[in-house]
Every structure is written in structure tokens, then in C-alpha cells.
Symmetry: C2
Subunit: 211 residues, 2 copies
């Protein structure tokens, strides 16, 4: 782990007893596995098979199946953060930047349903403290909120509550979409991104209906 760079620099020799960057290879294998079969297809032994190593090798890098899941969630939170930041780029104002980040949130979930599920997997939530990657992603949202309300001074609690009032609808839409709850409900479109756009549009619209 500390010597990853050293190892990676060395030319890849196949059939090596020492892999070179097995941790990375295992993570890639895990991503491929959950993309194909969902989180329930994530198996230490399957990951090992796919990476071409013995069944106990992954334990040396992730300790546990939970450890692997954690690493996967971490990486996904970083990817989500990057996707949201990219979406914000070039927004005309703070309000639409916040809106774009919300839509990007749903986009990410729909494009990577298994990763999204891994990120909010019960076993992950049971961890004592959220990972730094997770906190960093939340910070993007908080910054967006503060930018919108830039004029007024926001108490910390107030900012957090506003953040959740923006997060909850997008997370709900993403979760419902990922769990296939949009289908067969009489919607004109079941495209979650379109729905996210309309949901956030209504929030921006000064003459919104009511709910």
C-alpha cells in the first residue's frame, strides 16, 4: 500500500507471485462484478478468481468482505463528487449550480446503480464515522447551499437543514429509480433524470403549484 508507486513502476510481469498492484486489480474486478450482478454478486472468492489470484488473497488488502465494500463505496463517493463538480462547472449562477448538482446526483445513481447501492449499504452506514470521501461529497452540497444563500449568514444547523431539504428529494428519486419503483406507476416518463429536472425546475419556479 505504501509502496504502490514503486510497484506500479515495475514492468508488469505476468505469472508473478507478487502481482504488482493487486489492490487496484481487485477493486476493478469488484466493480465489474457489481456492475454485472449487483452488490449481492460481490464475493471475495469471485473477485479473487476474476483477478486470477487465490481465494484468500483479497483478505490481505481489504481484511473483510465489508472492507472491500467500504473501499468500493469510498471510490464511488469520490466519483460522485467528481461528477457533481463537473456538472456545476460553468453554471450561470449559484441557484442553477445547485440544481445541476442535484441532477448530476441522480444521473450518477442511475448510471451506476450498484455503486450507488454500495455507497448506502447498511453495513457501511453502521460504521462509526463517515469516510472522508463521503464527507467530501457532502461538502459539495453544503458549498452549493451556502453559495445560494450567500448573502445571508447561515447558521451551521440552518445550512445543514437546507442541504437535506435539497438532498432528500434527489436521494429519494435516485433510490426509487435504482430500485425500479418508477415503473408501472402511471408516469409520463420513467426517465429519472428528466424527473429530476422537472422536480428541481418546480422548486426554482416562483409560481410553483403547492406540494
Amino acid at each position: 500500500m505504501s509502496d504502490r508507486k514503486r510497484r506500479a513502476a515495475r514492468p508488469r510481469r505476468r505469472r508473478a507471485y507478487h502481482h504488482g498492484d493487486l489492490r487496484r486489480a481487485l477493486l476493478d474486478a469488484a466493480l465489474a462484478l457489481i456492475a454485472r450482478g449487483g452488490v449481492s454478486a460481490l464475493t471475495l472468492r469471485a473477485v479473487a478468481r476474476r483477478a486470477g489470484v487465490s481465494h484468500a488473497a483479497p483478505a490481505h488488502h481489504f481484511v473483510d468482505l465489508l472492507g472491500l465494500l467500504r473501499a468500493l463505496a469510498d471510490e464511488s463517493f469520490e466519483a460522485l463528487r467528481a461528477h457533481m463538480l463537473a456538472a456545476i462547472e460553468g453554471a450561470p449562477d449559484a441557484q442553477s449550480a445547485l440544481r445541476r448538482s442535484g441532477i448530476a446526483y441522480v444521473e450518477f445513481a442511475v448510471a451506476n446503480p450498484a455503486r450507488f447501492r454500495a455507497m448506502f449499504h447498511p453495513a457501511i452506514g453502521d460504521d462509526a464515522k463517515p469516510s472522508t470521501a463521503q464527507a467530501a461529497a457532502y461538502e459539495v452540497l453544503l458549498a452549493g447551499i451556502r453559495a445560494v444563500y450567500g448573502g445571508r449568514a447561515l447558521g451551521g444547523h440552518e445550512a445543514a437543514e437546507l442541504a437535506f431539504s435539497a438532498w432528500a428529494p434527489m436521494h429519494g428519486l435516485a433510490a426509487l429509480a435504482v430500485d425500479r419503483q418508477l415503473e408501472g406507476k402511471g408516469l409520463a416518463t420513467t426517465d429519472p433524470v428528466k424527473l429530476a429536472e422537472r422536480l428541481t425546475a418546480r422548486a426554482q419556479d416562483p409560481r410553483r403549484p403547492s406540494c
Copy 2:
């Protein structure tokens, strides 16, 4: 299944080769198991042990582990529907009835996190069509929406979209709460029900801030 009534009427004999109402006993065992250890603790063998039958007995009632999960989800959707209907009872008007049903939704999720997770488990969502219990619960929401907009004629698509714009925030809040995402985020209160009340209050309030 078709003869449950007949069986249940017969006095409970212990030590019977035929259990009497094993399906019910297995469901209760399953509920106890997920309440204690989450959905991941749900095991056909553990359920059988808890009900005092052989390890293969559950398969005769639920076919699969997935079948057991489906039955659990179904029962939970019915329980959710009942809880929402009870919350609506005696509401002064349609708008506050809708609001109460949303708060009840979050209440149910927080009170029964494992059941909530079972209801939206990936394997359940992959089913071709939603169960009737699930559809019935959704119908409560739809009826609430139609009552609020009772004056205007609502297109089917329109009603569904309004339903989702009410469902998404509540589902998001419930999911975030159940997955322990409210903690450590700087909120004044991490009580999901209180947050639901404030979120829905803002929606009702004519002079809402913005987002």
C-alpha cells in the same frame, strides 16, 4: 395457503409433524431475525431453527430465500399502508392529510428499518410487476394527491408526477435516516420524523424560502 383458516382453527398441538400454521410462524421468525440483525441476517436455515423445524421446511412455503423476502416485503407494504391510513384519519383537510401520510411514511421506515429495506430490496425491485400490496400502498398516496387537487381534473400522468414529487422527498429522508446518513452532518436534530415535519411544513408554507 388456501387452507390456512381451517388449520388455524384447530387447537395448537406441539410436537406435531404438521405444524398447523408454519407459514405464519416462519414469517414471524423472519421478522424477528431482520429486526435484530438486518436483512443480511435473514437465512432460510436460521428461520427454520427459530421456528423449530428442519432446515428445508421453509422452502415448501416460500420456494426460495427470495420468496421469503417477497412475502416479508408484501406484509410490510400492507403494514405501511395501514399506518398511513391511520395517520390520515381525522385530518382537517386534504392537504394536511397528505402531509400526515408523508410523515407516517418516515415514521414507519424509522420504526422498522429492516422491513423498509426489505420492501425496497434490489431483488424485489427486479420482479416483473409490483405486488398488489405495494400497489395498494401507492394508491393511498395517489388518493391523497387527487384529494388535494380535487377541484381540478388531473390527468393520470399529472397525478403520478405530483405523487412522486411528494414521495421522493419522504422516501429520500426515510432512506437516508435508515442508512444512518443523518448523523454527523451538522443537523440541529437528527430525528427523521421532526425533519419530515419541517420539510412538509415548508412545502405547505406559502412564504417558503426557495429550495
